[in-house]
Symmetry: C2
Subunit: 352 residues, 2 copies
């Protein structure tokens, strides 16, 4: 927070992530907190602008998953104080409005509620971050930044909550058979969450064996290493037939949605949590309507999931931090993006 | 069933419905029943081919809502017998498969399961109909064909069950505020059903005062007689704000879906029961995804609703038959189509 300015990651366009010295983050509102970042990571959704951002939109600060130490707080902040280790979810919320009280923090009605994408001067892939609505947004951690639990606790920022939301939005329970489409970090967290909710059958559709092996460790009962019509046929041929009750679409591209339509059971549900990279898609008589297929999901209210899921991490019941298969510092972030884009890394943890 | 053949309604193309002598319906399978129709009606969905059917597809037998007397039964039929008054839902099902047992008769897995549209030689707007899977499909009525309850019981074939399914698929309960888009017969049945499930606020969006007046009688607490942006703003300005928890889309055209997107509350649900006259529609970040809007609905399992809803008709709690504002005989059916298309009639009851 001192010196010539903080260092943070800016994206300049497709394939162009740079580390830069940027102005110090400072408290702007009495409800802000300043956080010195101790751990952050790269998200699958960061790869969308990495793959397609137009130069005229550049640059944008990156990163929306982080753990850090409170450095300073605005005068109205009461729930965290200087020196506290905290985790931040990927959406800023007041935790008091009607939507937050219902657990939908990603639709918080507060005028300052936002995604980190909407805070152009802040990002978690940086040395320091100004966190608006600190009382609503941040959650204090009961462990030190050097704890071996930090990778798992960092997944509370987004990827674990997102996988869990996928399962909850799909109403997974002990009687459901589930297909998870996509063996990326979100898909694997969806497997872990689905297992936690007791699903009797969990099919993971993915073509990268290291990832699907981790999926088995997280609870997948079967792997389908095929896409499109071949993958659909493989799922529909499984015991029970007619597809599975819940299909979690953890990719965000249209072919994955089409695959979901192919493997969902009549009367059941497709749950989407990866940001759709399309706006229009089939929902008429020939797709969703004919067999009463429901569509659910959206951005996960990670803030609501943190207190719900943290105990299972602290007591060792789950170890979601296993999704991090690479570590780097800020200087290594550009290479981390490329490794994730090339599928060399599953998910990269960043220690500034 | 005797003489030169039955008379039934065939559609030849857009705007071209003709009454014709057609071959006698006969028992083909041991699970069939032959019904002499005593009451049928014209459905809003019949108006779709009436508006757009291509001449090369002609002709098709019409009508999927009817009450009648069992004239004959195949050797395997056990639940109805000659002389029984019965009502038929708009889908043929065996009432025993896994989907039927779950109450999703419209996805019945039996090879002979079908919509009446899929039975080219049969239709309810006729003197007689062969009903496949009679044990699964037909429900015996406890009143005679001359009963004053017949119009209301006839709505069990489709329109009441469809409105009820819209409300159930939207998870309407005592705490929900509901918008119903469309003041046609399905929209009005959705109002009636939503009221029955105890919704605290029911906004009916419709521009035909005679229909919205009936909507008020069925339980609507407010009417918005505007469409598009103006209509959306009117609903969003209502107490509670942010739109309503449930939006029932009872029209089937894309502008109605767009209207539903405009008035649904974050985290809540759009329930569709009118057959979509589109295949692709917005479901990405800018429409459903951003605020975790769910999409539900499909063809109503009317068969499942019949036994559930019939008692309320028999004891006079509800009088859904009020949607019929015109009566005719078979000769009057072509004019009935045109009157419904011109919005002169809400729903036409046909007594062959």
């Amino acid at each position: 927070m001192q010196g010539p300015g903080d260092r943070g990651k800016d994206i300049y366009g497709a394939g162009d992530v740079r580390i830069e010295n940027v102005p110090d983050s400072v408290i702007k509102h009495p409800t802000d907190a300043l956080i010195r970042t101790t751990a952050s990571c790269i998200c699958g959704s960061d790869l969308h602008p990495y793959g397609s951002m137009k130069p005229e939109d550049r640059p944008a600060r990156m990163g929306h998953e982080f753990i850090g130490i409170v450095e300073d707080t605005g005068t109205e902040v009461t729930t965290v104080k200087r020196g506290d280790p905290v985790v931040a979810p990927f959406a800023i919320s007041d935790n008091t409005c009607a939507f937050c009280r219902e657990g939908l923090h990603t639709s918080c009605a507060h005028p300052q509620a936002n995604f980190w994408d909407g805070e152009p001067e802040e990002g978690g892939q940086a040395e320091a971050v100004r966190v608006p609505l600190a009382d609503g947004t941040l959650v204090k951690l009961p462990v030190a930044p050097a704890s071996s639990l930090i990778p798992s606790l960092l997944t509370l920022s987004d990827v674990l909550g997102t996988g869990y939301h996928a399962a909850v939005a799909g109403s997974v329970n002990e009687r459901t058979r589930v297909t998870v489409i996509g063996d990326g970090a979100v898909g694997l967290m969806a497997v872990l969450s689905t297992k936690g909710l007791g699903a009797e059958q969990i099919i993971l559709m993915g073509c990268h064996q290291e990832r699907t092996d981790l999926g088995r460790e997280f609870g997948a009962t079967g792997i389908v290493a095929a896409r499109g019509e071949e993958g659909i046929a493989a799922v529909r041929d499984l015991p029970g037939g007619h597809g599975t009750h819940v299909v979690i679409e953890a990719v965000g591209h249209l072919p994955a949605y089409d695959q979901a339509l192919g493997v969902v059971r009549p009367g059941d549900v497709i749950s989407r949590v990866a940001v759709p990279q399309y706006e229009k898609a089939p929902i008429g008589f020939g797709s969703l309507f004919r067999h009463n297929i429901r569509l659910a999901g959206g951005p996960a209210p990670a803030r609501a999931c943190i207190e719900e899921l943290m105990p299972a991490i602290l007591d060792g019941t789950i170890e979601p931090g296993k999704v991090f298969d690479a570590n780097t510092n800020l200087d290594g972030v550009p290479a981390g993006y490329q490794d994730m884009a090339d599928r060399k890394s599953l998910k990269v943890l960043v220690k500034p």
